[in-house]
């Protein structure tokens, strides 16, 4: 019992919080990535396991060391380093040398996140920073793909279509057509039985994970919906106007890193807008840039750069999409 001399605890309202927390949310992201992880292990076997383990372990070690060196409180328990490691691994080629994967993870954590002050302060998605760095530094390793299951060197669907496009432009229509025959069936692209990055080939597994995040309320439907929707609509227009039909937009939606980008990277809390309107603009921008890079750019895939570019303008989007305040309306008569 209390008496006059023992004062009670005084604190600011509210006196009740929900059970949500940053570590729990990050744990949910990890759970959401599990279907893609299983698909990756199935299709790419040991190669997948080694790269994923390398990325996660290096990411976690860098997180711990960075905080120590910077004399900041430890942040490893927020689980975000594991998420970054997983996401980076998921967008690396299966045959990538492990030392490159490790450097990518270190760049992602140290430069992509901790130098900005840690989780919450980074401007760019850390995993994408890691990937962009590796693509610039070791382009050959980063574009050498192996087929699922048997591991022989192959090309990604987006790589094939880009090559075919180049041949077409050079006037070699026959060779282009021959090349296009190598494209996998849409069904294989859906389940992930194609060449590509470790965790991004199985659109289905990523969609399941994305739906889980939506269900848990961690991501806003606006970003993945407008992102994938924009890609779909733009490629439909291209597909119909070039006579390739509805196969073309479906191919683009299922190919490359669009699913993992739309559900797991563009939706990154820290680096995407906080306003609803802003998220729609963000998704539109990502979609537009992705299609632009895929169809007009030098790279076969544009998800990584389109999201990084949109990360850049996130503060600007936030500034210009502020909600009107309750009560600031033209009032009724």
């Amino acid at each position: 019992m209390n008496n006059e001399s023992s004062l009670l605890l005084v604190s600011s309202s509210p006196h009740i919080r929900n059970t949500d927390s940053v570590p729990a949310a990050m744990r949910d992201v990890i759970i959401a990535l599990l279907p893609a992880l299983v698909a990756s292990l199935y299709f790419f076997r040991m190669a997948s396991l080694k790269v994923i383990l390398t990325c996660v372990v290096v990411a976690v070690i860098c997180e711990v060391v960075c905080r120590k060196v910077m004399k900041r409180e430890a942040s490893i328990h927020d689980n975000s380093a594991i998420v970054t490691g997983l996401l980076l691994a998921f967008c690396l080629p299966p045959a990538v040398p492990l030392w490159i994967a490790g450097i990518g993870a270190a760049v992602a954590i140290i430069i992509g996140k901790q130098l900005f002050g840690g989780l919450g302060n980074n401007i760019y998605n850390p995993a994408l920073i890691g990937r962009a760095f590796l693509t610039a530094a070791w382009p050959v390793y980063m574009t050498t793909w192996s087929a699922p299951l048997d591991g022989v060197t192959t090309a990604t669907p987006l790589g094939i279509i880009k090559e075919a496009g180049k041949l077409q432009a050079l006037g070699d229509a026959g060779a282009a057509q021959e090349l296009m025959k190598q494209l996998p069936a849409l069904g294989d692209m859906l389940i992930g039985n194609i060449g590509g990055s470790l965790g991004e080939t199985s659109a289905l597994a990523l969609i399941i994970g994305g739906l889980y995040l939506l269900y848990r309320g961690h991501i806003d439907w606006r970003i993945p919906f407008t992102y994938i929707g924009t890609v779909f609509i733009l490629t439909t227009i291209i597909g119909l106007s070039t006579g390739q039909g509805m196969w073309y937009p479906l191919f683009h939606v299922l190919a490359g890193g669009l699913m993992i980008g739309a559900f797991f990277m563009a939706t990154d809390w820290v680096t995407s807008p906080i306003t609803k309107k802003g998220r729609i603009i963000f998704g539109l921008g990502c979609g537009l840039l992705t299609v632009l890079i895929r169809t007009k750019g030098g790279y076969p895939e544009g998800v990584c750069y389109s999201i990084l570019l949109m990360n850049t303008v996130t503060p600007l989007i936030d500034r210009y999409t502020k909600s009107r305040v309750f009560g600031r309306v033209k009032n009724h008569a």
Partner: protein, 442 residues
């Protein structure tokens, strides 16, 4: 417009089942009551009695100057034994008139029934409401008569009675709606009369459909009164959100409900008005929910103003163990008190006690920009932006980001996964902005 709800807000566990089926129990009338000279927003009262005076129940013992104030009354008959400072639920210490109860329960002569309440003019009704010391009983304690003062430019189109009671644990309004539905409807009738408004709405959250039924029955013979179930969502009981849910109109920033033709009163206030007008009884008692994990026997009490918190807790079987927090009001917007040795005032809707293990010390993470606070804010602000600006003490920017529109409902902090004390930061910004404004005026 989605009918009878608002944008933003959160779903929060109400813990209403703890006390919502418990009939209101008259609390023990204490041997000594402590009546604070300030129980309302506005100028505090000066004592009209001195130590040694005999006072009767319902006698006016304090009165304030100016327009925005409300008199205070003796809640028991007896002798004024002291005028001393005492801890106050609103914070700090406030002078109180201490009355030693003589247990005679003698009413003051001023307390007499009105022979013909329906012949009262609006003016007379306002006078009675003022003299009875009636203030907003939902917790805001704004002097009620002020709201009824005529404004030639602004017509009252709706009188809304707030029976949303969206705060967790609190069931005082729920009980009064069940037990005194007739008083509430009568009170609304008089309010409508005093402001010359033909339309009255009693807004009840749809987790209290039993109260809706009882009120509908009580109101069936009253013209112009409608009882409407509103969607259960926190903070439905917030005045501006309630008006929006009922009418689709937004009270302008910095404006008053009257700017959109509305007047809002708590259901308990309406019942108190009915008693004041028909029976001449001033506001000297109210229903208080004593609940939470930290009390043995949660109960709804009918309590005399001036009864100490600790007496009520004792009557509820005492604390269950080590106390974490004692809160005057609900979990979302209530204020923690630093001692239980303080009196119940007119605005005390509940006393919620949390056990030590229910009070978590959360580590504050850096904001991860998840924007859950943005989605939850019923004022459409960016709580995280405001909290950041406040932490950096950039007050002007906080003002430019509409910090003053924050209603401190706590929805943002409730949903924050980074466990940032957003309300606390914004409250600080608001105080700094207000004090800067005051300085600028001088």
């Amino acid at each position: 417009m989605n009918k009878f709800t608002f944008r933003g807000g959160i779903h929060v566990n109400g813990y209403k089942e703890v006390t919502n089926s418990l009939e209101t129990l008259p609390a023990n009338i204490p041997d000594k009551v402590y009546i604070p000279l300030s129980q309302h927003i506005g100028s505090p009262c000066s004592a009209l009695v001195k130590v040694g005076d005999e006072v009767k129940k319902g006698q006016k013992i304090g009165e304030g100057k100016g327009f925005v104030t409300a008199p205070i009354h003796a809640s028991v008959s007896g002798k004024v034994s002291a005028i001393e400072t005492k801890a106050h639920p609103g914070g700090g210490y406030v002078p109180c008139i201490v009355i030693e109860n003589d247990r005679k329960e003698e009413w003051a002569e001023t307390v007499k029934p009105c022979p013909n309440p329906d012949s009262l003019t609006p003016e007379e009704i306002r006078k009675i409401v003022l003299e009875a010391g009636i203030v907003g009983m939902g917790g805001a304690t704004f002097p009620t008569h002020v709201k009824y003062s005529p404004n030639p430019e602004k017509k009252v189109e709706f009188v809304l009675l707030n029976g949303a009671e969206c705060e967790p644990y609190l069931t005082a309004d729920h009980r009064i709606m069940l037990e005194k539905a007739e008083r509430i409807v009568k009170g609304l009738h008089y309010i409508m009369k005093s402001v010359n408004c033909p339309k009255g709405i009693i807004a009840v959250e749809d987790n209290k459909l039993d109260a809706v039924e009882v009120l509908q029955k009580a109101a069936q013979d009253e013209k112009g009164i409608e009882v409407i179930p509103f969607k259960e969502k926190y903070p439905q009981g917030s005045e501006k959100q309630l008006i929006y849910a009922a009418t689709g109109r937004e009270v302008p920033v910095g404006g008053l409900p009257l700017d959109v033709g509305a007047i809002v009163n708590n259901v308990g206030t309406a019942a108190a008005i009915a008693d004041a007008i028909e029976k001449g009884i001033p506001l000297i008692e109210r229903i208080v929910t004593v609940s939470g994990t930290g009390v043995q026997k949660p109960t709804n009490y009918l309590v005399r103003v001036g009864t100490l918190f600790k007496d009520l807790i004792e009557q509820s079987g005492g604390y269950t163990g080590e106390i974490g927090k004692v809160i005057s009001g609900g979990l979302m917007m209530g204020k923690t008190v630093f001692t239980d040795d303080m009196p119940v005032i007119k605005g005390t809707s509940g006393i919620v006690v949390l056990k030590k293990e229910d009070v978590k010390e959360e580590t504050e993470y850096t904001c991860v920009r998840c924007a859950k606070c943005v989605d939850a804010c019923p004022a459409f602000l960016e709580p995280t932006t405001l909290a950041k600006l406040s932490k950096m003490e950039r007050w002007e920017e906080a003002e430019a980001n509409n910090a003053l529109s924050c209603i401190e409902c706590g929805s943002c902090a409730y949903v924050c996964p980074a466990k940032i004390n957003i309300v606390q930061h914004i409250r600080r910004a608001k105080q700094m902005i207000m004090s800067a404004k005051k300085k600028a005026k001088k």
